[in-house]
Amino acid sequence: MLYREAGDFKTSYSLDNQTFPLKLDRIVFYLTLAVAFLVVPLVINDYWASAILVPFLIYAIAAIGLNILTGYCGQVSLGTGGFMAVGAYACYKLMTAFPDVSILLHIVGAGFVTMVVCTVFGLPSLRIKGFYLAVATLAAQFFLVWLFNKVPWFYNNNASGQISAPERTVFGVPLTGPNTEAWAMYLVCLTFCVASAFIARNLTRGSLGRRWMAIRDMDIAAEIIGVNPLTAKLSAFALSGFFVGISGALFFSVYLGAAEVGESFGIDKSFLVLFMIIIGGLGSIFGCFAGAAFLVVLPVVLKFIGVDILGWAPDLVAHLRLVIVGGLIMFFLIKEPHGLAQLWRVMKEKLRLWPFPH
């Protein structure tokens, strides 16, 4: 209904496979970006930052990472929590080891460290398939958590066994530490998030993305038409690790400030991110954002309704949340295996064909 496509035709291939082929979509996209970068920082407050926006952005990055691996390359991983932990601890070690290097570099560095670790744990995927692999990745999850617990070197031997981010500034603006302001927190996460989405989109639409999807859809055929499964799968693990690592680093350094591996990066993190991409939509960048938004906002809304309005006990509401999330997972797998992203696509199609039904 809103679209006016007549005359919006493509005269070159780069125009033809741009991310938003429709003019209207492009406009909306750029407007959103503008608002996110220019307006929100001015109006944001601590509550919105720490309750919704910052976690949303960080989880979105993690979801992008996992979606590359699971949604695009078809390799299910239950180790996301562990890999986020790697990002977090790598970031911590870097921050404390090189205090005068920019925190931003540390975060990216953490991404690269995680990349390596993730690739190593990806090696079994060459022989193990399906949920055999999924279970195998649990090894990563538990081993890594255990490792960061047991080896004092990772938390610089401090008594609490916790890691806590010292204050680091960029252009004099603190990005980590207790007196980080909401807008700074938000902006740094937003920047990383947008960059990640941009990179992920480019990778998934190019030849690498096709290699991944070929492996996902039919690995044997893929190999026979010339896709090297080794490089394809490992590259997926590597890049997935990179993004997950970055999200882990941000989660710890910018968002939490202090973290204890067991509770911050436990198995349930792995599931949370997995749910995000299932609900959001496997194999869709948009889905990562949709899923992250959904699962970040849902608890907040429930808490608001349950606790603040109805005045129920928080634990009761927490249980309700479990029920709802679990139910939704099953619902989506049954009704719309391609998640919110698919719903979105369908809606768009309808708008384009309006007033015709098909």
Binding site: M1, Y3, R4, E5, A6, G7, D8, F9, K10, T11, S12, Y13, L15, D16, R352, L353, W354, P355, F356, P357, H358
Partner: protein, 658 residues
């Protein structure tokens, strides 16, 4: 790159000269687009000019002489459009042909115009040309645009368009003078193109059109509708047809439109949507099928959508045309129409590809008023024009502010009209063709000494609108006993616009009043019967059913009322009619294979019925021979009611409620 074109300095009297001008003036803007390999390949005027030059160079190299004829046959593609101009650039005459021509027709035309070269679209066309080599020995060389599947062909007298251009580019330097010389021999009155009219009777005639014809007409027509550079046209109609030559070549080059060629015939609709032309022509049939398509698709829509659609289409029918004509419209309707524009019309136009259409034409045959109104009411500026090959298309055209379904508009600038006393429409204009190629007698019989051309159509100037109104083929128009005009086709068309009526034959030539045979449309009437649970066992029974006859009488009365409105035709009202017990059928020789009625045959075969129509009897039993699908012959007998129709009084206008 571009060969210096001597005519640049001089006046712009040829299409090549105009192309050169465009290359200079509109160099950067789009001249041609073709959907190929998934995207719209694009050529600016500068590039197009270069392409044309190269092709022309190639043709010279192959030994094309001034005055030679070059046949061009294939689907609409830039390379073929360039070929047209390239040929002219060589001082030769392009002869665009219908791509669906069968070998025999092709052989006749090639032989008649004596084409030495053929520029063909693809293997299919080349094969046709090769197939008739014997009959057409003068064809010395064939060029093809798409070489698919022809690698193994003998390329002695065959080459691809690219190779042709290659030859040209290679020879560029030494040809400059030659081109200059040729250009200097060309003037406003030298031949621009020969177009073969698929004559309904006899062999096709080659209509010779001069540069003057094409350019003047293009000028007048485009100025009439204030069309200028930057218009987008979709080139999808056969290149052999004069309309395409005017819209996609004459006007396009004169004004600098962009000509867009679809990827293939079956992607035309989606390509139309992508391009969204600003200037669009289609025959009535196209708009008709499109409308049916829309209605069918809306059938499956949800209740809400359907309601929205019906509601706002009602609004559109009420207010749309007037808003489009810039007439006064009540504020409420104006508002509702805006809303509708957002909710229905806009999206609809978008999905159909008409969002950007500023001027749309339909012509060729009568278009159903409700179909016409539908598009008008959406805010699409669809207009009717009247023309023919001999006039380089345009004779009359409708102004944006005064568009009607039943007229064809006023003469465009430079066109003079007069109505012969037998009702035939005559015209004279700068677009009037030079001659029929190698056919002086036809030329003489069509065009008189001082340039008046007879259209062969009967018509008159509508009093209130001052627009021309076409009634019928002149030869079919007769007189009633009392001398009033008798135009059967005119009335028949009016009746056939009712979905319930499939075929009509009106009689009355030389009689004192008009009568008619009607054929019901089994589908439409059948549906009606189902909805109103009217039981019937056979076509015959349904056709004879009193309630069906009732409906028919209503339709006839309605038509009579509207016919009564113009005193010239008021005599053509139908006084008595019979609903036939069998469908008029080509197998019985009652229709031509193209579904046109054969009056003589019918009049003779059903003489008894006609008699009954005029002798006042109220019933008649008859015996008719029929041929079944399997060819067996049989006969059916029936008692048919002869019905009197409500006839409106010609003088009382109020009676005409429609």
């Amino acid at each position: 790159m571009v060969v210096k074109d001597p005519s640049l300095g001089g006046s712009l009297e040829t299409l090549p000269a105009l192309v050169a001008r465009n290359a200079r003036v509109l160099g950067k803007s789009s001249a041609y687009r073709e959907k190929e390999f998934g995207i719209w390949q694009r050529w600016t005027w500068a590039e197009a000019h270069a392409e044309i030059q190269a092709a022309a160079g190639g043709l010279l190299e192959l030994g094309l002489n001034e005055g030679d004829k070059v046949a061009i046959i294939g689907r609409n593609r830039p390379s073929l459009y360039w070929s047209v101009v390239a040929v002219q650039l060589c001082g030769a005459v392009p002869v665009p042909l219908y791509q669906d021509a069968v070998p025999e027709e092709l052989a006749y035309v090639l032989d008649h115009c004596g084409a030495r070269f053929v520029i063909a679209g693809d293997q299919e066309q080349v094969d046709k040309v090769l197939e008739i080599q014997e009959e057409t020995p003068q064809v010395t060389y064939v060029v093809y645009a798409d070489g698919r599947g022809m690698r193994k062909y003998d390329h002695a007298a065959l080459c691809s368009f690219e190779d042709l251009q290659g030859k040209g580019r290679a020879a560029e330097s030494r040809q400059a003078s030659r081109f200059a010389e040729i250009a200097s021999n060309q003037n406003y009155d030298s031949t621009c193109v020969i177009l073969y009219t698929s004559g309904t009777t006899g062999k096709p005639k080659g209509v010779v059109l001069s540069n003057r014809n094409i350019i003047e007409t293009s000028k007048n027509a485009t100025e009439f509708d204030s069309l200028g550079p930057g218009e987008d046209v979709l080139a999808y109609l056969p290149m052999g047809w004069v309309g395409d030559f005017i819209f996609s070549i004459g006007e396009a080059i004169y004004q600098g439109f962009c000509v867009n060629c679809p990827e293939s015939a079956d992607t035309m609709r989606s390509d139309l949507r992508e391009i969204g032309p600003t200037y669009f022509f289609a025959p009535p049939r196209f708009f008709e099928t499109l409308l049916t398509d829309v209605m069918i698709r809306m059938e499956d829509a949800g209740r809400v959508k359907r309601w929205l659609f019906q509601h706002f289409m009602a609004v559109a029918r009420r207010a749309g045309p007037d808003i489009l004509d810039g007439k006064e419209v009540p504020g409420m309707d104006r508002f509702k129409y805006r809303l509708g524009e957002f909710l229905v019309y806009g999206p609809l136009k978008n999905t159909l590809g008409f969002t950007q259409v500023r001027v749309g034409y339909t012509a060729g045959e009568a278009i159903g008023p409700e179909i016409f109104e539908f598009y008008r009411s959406l805010g699409i500026n669809l207009k009717q024009l009247y023309g023919q090959t001999e006039a380089s298309v345009f004779i009359t055209n409708q102004t944006d502010t005064d568009v009607r379904a039943d007229t064809v508009g006023v003469p465009i600038p430079g066109v003079e009209l007069k109505i012969a006393d037998n009702g035939e429409v005559l015209y004279r204009s700068p677009g009037v063709f030079v001659e029929y190629f190698n056919n002086p007698e036809s030329t003489a019989s069509t065009k008189d000494a001082d340039g008046w051309v007879s259209t062969g159509d009967a018509g008159f100037m509508d009093k209130e609108s001052g627009q021309l109104r076409i009634i019928d083929r002149a030869k079919d128009v007769g007189k009633l006993a009392d001398g009033r005009m008798f135009a059967p086709k005119y009335v028949e068309n009016k009746l056939k616009f009712f979905p319930n009526i499939l075929e009509v034959v009106v009689f009355g030539n030389g009689k004192h009043e008009c009568t008619a045979f009607l054929n019901i449309d089994l589908q439409a009437v059948g549906n009606w019967a189902e909805r109103n649970n009217v039981a019937y066992a056979s076509y015959q029974e349904l056709a004879g059913h009193p309630r069906v006859i009732e409906i028919m009488s209503e339709h006839v009365a309605e038509v009579n009322a509207s016919v009564a409105q113009d005193e010239m035709l008021s005599g053509c009202q139908i006084h008595r009619f019979i609903v036939l017990h069998k469908q008029l059928d080509a197998d019985d020789g009652e229709l031509t294979r193209t579904q046109k009625v054969r009056r003589a045959v019918i009049a003779d075969k059903y003489s008894d019925l006609i008699e009954a129509l005029y002798d006042g009897s109220s019933e008649i039993s008859t015996e008719t021979e029929v041929t079944y699908e399997d060819g067996r012959k049989g006969s059916i007998s029936a008692r048919l009611a002869v019905n009197n129709a409500v006839v409106s009084d010609a003088r009382v206008r109020e009676a005409s409620a429609a």
